[in-house]
Each structure stands twice: as structure tokens, then as C-alpha cells.
Amino acid sequence: MLRHFLRSREAILTGALFFLLALIALRFPAFVAPRNLAAVFNDTAPLIILALGQMVVILTRCIDLSVAANLALCGMVAALINVAAPDLPVVAIIAMVVILGALLGAFNGILVWKVGIPPIVVTLGTLTIFRGIIFLISDGKWINAHEMTEGFKALPRADILGIPMLSWFAILTIAGFALLISRTALGRSFFAVGGNPHAAVYTGIDVGRTQFAAFVLAGALAGLTGYLWVARYAVAYVDIAGGFELDVIAACVIGGISIAGGIGSVGGAVLGALFLGVIKNALPVVDVSPFWQMAISGAAIIVAVVLNSRSNRPKGRLILRATEVRR
């Protein structure tokens, strides 16, 4: 068991994460203070939540490029509702944007499931549509801090047991996914659909329906993150979280979730997100030239993909190739 863990993707990533933290501590010791690490986790919480949603989508051999646009649209809607009805409780707003996010995800899902358009094309289209809708509903204007109510902005920052609510949302999402993936039929079917769609059909799993469920799940989480994002930065505008979908996919790839589907774990996605989060938070304090920052983030992704493709190489095919050579 222990030996199995030590060879696993998660162990390698945990090791890499500690190595990274040690490197940073050499240049800026205060970074590894527990309080700062908690702050880094808090800052990475949106990425963790979205990476978990993206994970199930990728597991089913799909991809969702529209998560960041979905987040931005739901965030804008949350802010607009708050401005229009300041007395509405924040919990109600959260419920509304989670449902909205799920609906937007369902729209992606339906196009993939019933119309049969490749997911990358569908979500590339909805990405632009969602951003366009934000522009239409907001009229291109910002919703600013002084227009939002105090309660709306305070929730992600509220402390429970010394940890901000934003972090709690991430912790609860991780726990929920751990249960979903390991203990439910739906969770297992994500792997079945991605691993071998034909075999999945023979075991009675509806491939399209499972992909649809993954998109709805990812959408609902994007909706939730939309509120958290807007409340945390206390501003909503068309471009919020611009390009964030790439960070989310990068977190998944670093976390060992195979883009080809069927391989991945909750721990991997979380560690992948934390890895990116640590890099993003450390680069400003270790005094690295901004020109290098992007190159460093990019290099981390390439290294992860190389490691991934090496460890995931199917062993059966190697034997076949060897016999071919002999002939």
C-alpha cells in the first residue's frame, strides 16, 4: 500500500511541491510561515474548485474551455442581483448563481450529448457567447465595491475556526468530490466513459448522459466560484478571470489527469492546482523578472506533461512493438 503510494503521481507531486516550497524559502523564508501558506491556499481556492469540475469533464474525454467565461457571467449576475436587491440574503444569491452555472454547463452538455459537436468546439463557442452576454447585461460597465452590500463582500472573508469561508468552500468541494468519485456510480462512470467508451456502453452506462452530467457539475462549480471571485475582489466587469480557463486546464494536466480521458484523481487535481497556486504566489515575492514568470509557469506545465506521458504509456503496446521488431 505504502509502496504503491510512493510510486503514485500524487507522491511525486507532493514531493515536487515540498521541493518548490523549500526553494522559495531559501529566498524568502516568510513564505513558508503557516499563516502565509494558509493565505496561499485561500488564494488558490477558486482554482481548486474549478480544477475539480474540469477534472470530471476531462475524465469523460471532453474539455470545458468556457469555465472562466461561465464564472465571469455568474459573477456578474451575482453582482447585478446584489445591486438590484440589496436585501436579498447572500445564500439565496449563491443558490441562484450555482443553478445558473449548472444551466450554462447543461447547455454545453446538451450540445455535446444530443447534437454531437466536439466539446472543444462547443465550449470555444460558448466561451465567447458567455463573455458577450456579460457585456450585454452589464452594458459594459463595472460593478464596483461601493455598489455591493457589505454582507455580499464579507462572506468569502468570514472566519470559521480561523479559516476564511473561501477556503472552506474549497475544502468542502474536495470532500464532496472524494465521495463522489470513490463512492457513487456516477463517479465511477466518469472513469468508465473516458477509459473505454465502448466497454462503458456494454456495461449499461450512457456515455452522452455521463458527459452531460460532467458539464453540469463543472458549470455549477463555475457559478459558485463566480460569486466567490466577485465578492473577493469586490469588482465585476466583462474581463474578470480572463484566460483563467487555461490555468484550470493546466492545473488538471499538472495533476496527472490525462487529456485523453479516463485517468486522474481528486488528489492529483488538488495538488496540481496548489502547485500552480504556489508558483503564482511565490513569483511576486522572490523577485523574479516578470518576463521570466510566464516562462516558468509554462515550463512547469511542459515538465508535468512529459512526466505524465511517460508514466501513462500503455505497457501492452510496447510488447507488441517489440515482437514487430523481432520479425
Binding site: R131, F135, K141, P284, V285
Partner: protein, 331 residues
């Protein structure tokens, strides 16, 4: 029969009378191309351009731009404007050089091209309208920090992207006048890429790296808001003053919370107004563009061109707790 003839010719004459003004001069179409749609500053500039159009009477403003701040997006927009054969293009550029070929093509087709706010290299435009002069802005942003630091101290700059034309110029000008502010020590320049989350993270990083930091100067509207929020969340209101360039409506919360004592911005409405006026003068009234020329721009007076055919509109204006209430509803 005669009555009918009179009636017909009368009707024809009436029709000719009604039609002639419209036929004699088609609307002058001026395209206001911005860095990206959906940014408050440019929306306000459009308001000013519309005001100029109303004043001139026969002008139609086409407000357009890409959905994200890229040169590629702007090139597409320019090409489509050339296809529409507009009379003038007034652009705030995402890149100094990348837009030059597309804008040259526009000028070859007889379209008036001016840049405003963020400039294009001289060969890609006829003139450039600066909202204020770069030296004045560079001086203003450090003055805003220094005014609240009588004893001096460490300050840091939070900029947009490493390639933003105007931010880089202002920081350069700021560095030139630094000796005039003894005790003000600029410790670092970081880049938030005009993304709320990255700017927030960079501001947090600055406060960690320099515990004695007294002020963050952010000459960008996304950065200044994010930095103010980071200061509030770090519990450093009163210790770290966030200042720079921002919009009153976006900064009202930061002024209220005390994270920002004051900030400056020119009036974007005036800027859009002046850009439209200049574009009109150049395309319709055959004004010669040459160093030293003075070009009228309606209620904003006139623009005097320097050796690079650039001119400054006005001084930046300081906003603080005393006037924020009045301006936050305007732009």
C-alpha cells in the same frame, strides 16, 4: 390637367428641398477604436465623442474595439473599418508598432488616422492626442504619494503589462522627477497584467516583501482597485496608501475604506470629445498637421503639436474624499 402638373412639380420641388441637405453632405463617420470593449474609461470617452458629434451635427461616431486588449484584435477591427470606408479612425492602441501596417493601409485609402490615450508610432498616424503630457502624469503619480508622506518612505509601482505603452512612459517620467521628492524611495515595479487576481497577488507580494512599504502607486484602473482591496484584506489601511490613476466610480469604495487617500485621472469625457473634434478637423477642414501647428478642439481650446506631432489635452485632476461623491456617478 394643369392643376395636376402644378401639384406634381410642387411635390417634386418639395422632395428636392427635403432631400438636398442630406445628399449634399453624408454623415461624417468617425470610428473611435478602444483597447477593449467594456472598460469604464472608454465608455466615458465614447460619451464625450457623442457630445462632440451632437455639437458638430453631421457626425456619426462608431464606437468599437476588440473584446480583449490585444493588438491582433485591433488589427481586425481596423481592417473592417477600412472595408466600411469610414472618414476617420481615432484609436487608443494596444501596441505601439504592431498596428502601424494596418493604419498605414487606412491612410493610403484616404482615411484620417489619429491616436489618442495610448499612442501609435508616428508613421502609423497623423497626430497623437495625449490626455495630459507624460511628464505631468509622471510627476502627478509620485506627487500623490509624496503629498501624504511628509517624512518620505518606501513606495512601489504596480503597473499593467510589461508592454503597456503608456504605463511604461509614465513610470519613466516619474523616475526622472524623483530627485524632486527627497525621501521617496521607489523599491520595486511589479506587473499585474490588468487582471484583478494577478494585481491583487502582486500587491500582496509587495506588502510581504517590503514590510515598511508606505504607498503603492498603480497607474492603471484595474491595478489600483485590486491593490486597494489587497490592502484592506491585509489589514494595512492607514499604513499603505494606494494611489495612482483610477476612475472615480471604481475607486469610491477605496476612498471610503481609507485604503486610498487620493488618486488622479484626466476627464475621459473630455478626451473622447477632443479626439472626435480633432478627427473631424483633420478629415473635413484640411488642417495641416506639422510640428507647432495649433488645431482647434471645440470647448477644450486647441492642441499644440510638438516635434512628433503629439499634443497634450490638459492636466490630470485629483480626486479625494472631498469630491469623490460628486464624480462617482459621472464616470
Amino acid at each position: 390637367m394643369r392643376i395636376l402638373k402644378t401639384l406634381i412639380s410642387g411635390a417634386a420641388m418639395a422632395a428636392a428641398l427635403v432631400a438636398s441637405p442630406a445628399m449634399a453632405q453624408d454623415n461624417v463617420r468617425i470610428a473611435l477604436v478602444v483597447k477593449a470593449l467594456g472598460i469604464g474609461f472608454f465608455e466615458a470617452a465614447n460619451k464625450g465623442a457623442e457630445e462632440a458629434a451632437a455639437e458638430l451635427g453631421n457626425v456619426e461616431i462608431i464606437y468599437t474595439g476588440p473584446t480583449d486588449t490585444t493588438a491582433e484584435g485591433q488589427i481586425e477591427v481596423i481592417n473592417s473599418l477600412i472595408a466600411q470606408n469610414v472618414d476617420a479612425i481615432a484609436i487608443s492602441a494596444n501596441d505601439t508598432d504592431a498596428l502601424v501596417p494596418a493604419l498605414k493601409k487606412a491612410m493610403d485609402r484616404g482615411i484620417t488616422v489619429i491616436s489618442w490615450d495610448s499612442g501609435v508610432a508616428p508613421e502609423g498616424r497623423q497626430l497623437h492626442l495625449n490626455p495630459s503630457s507624460n511628464p505631468l502624469i509622471g510627476n502627478m503619480i509620485v506627487k500623490l504619494a509624496a503629498d501624504h508622506l511628509p517624512e518620505g518612505g518606501d513606495v512601489a509601482v504596480l503597473s499593467a503589462t510589461t508592454t503597456s505603452t503608456n504605463q511604461n512612459t509614465w513610470i519613466e517620467e516619474m523616475t526622472k522627477v524623483l530627485p524632486d521628492y527627497p525621501g521617496i524611495n521607489v523599491v520595486s515595479t511589479v506587473y499585474g497584467d490588468d487582471l484583478a487576481d494577478k494585481s491583487y497577488r502582486e500587491a500582496t507580494g509587495l506588502m510581504q516583501t517590503y514590510p515598511d512599504l508606505k504607498a503603492i502607486i498603480a497607474p492603471t484602473s484595474v491595478g489600483i482597485v485590486a491593490a486597494a482591496q489587497a490592502v484592506v484584506d491585509a489589514g494595512k489601511v492607514g499604513q499603505v496608501n494606494v494611489t495612482g490613476l483610477g476612475l472615480p466610480s471604481e475607486m469610491a469604495g477605496a476612498i471610503e475604506s481609507g485604503a486610498s487617500q487620493s488618486f488622479a485621472i484626466w476627464n475621459p469625457i473630455d478626451l473622447g470629445y477632443s479626439a472626435a473634434m480633432l478627427a473631424y478637423e483633420l478629415s473635413q477642414n484640411d488642417v495641416t498637421v506639422e510640428p507647432g501647428a495649433e488645431i482647434p478642439m471645440g470647448r477644450m481650446g486647441s492642441l499644440t503639436l510638438d516635434d512628433n506631432n503629439e499634443g497634450a489635452m490638459a492636466d490630470p485632476f485629483v480626486y479625494d474624499a472631498s469630491n469623490i461623491e460628486e464624480f462617482k456617478s459621472i464616470f
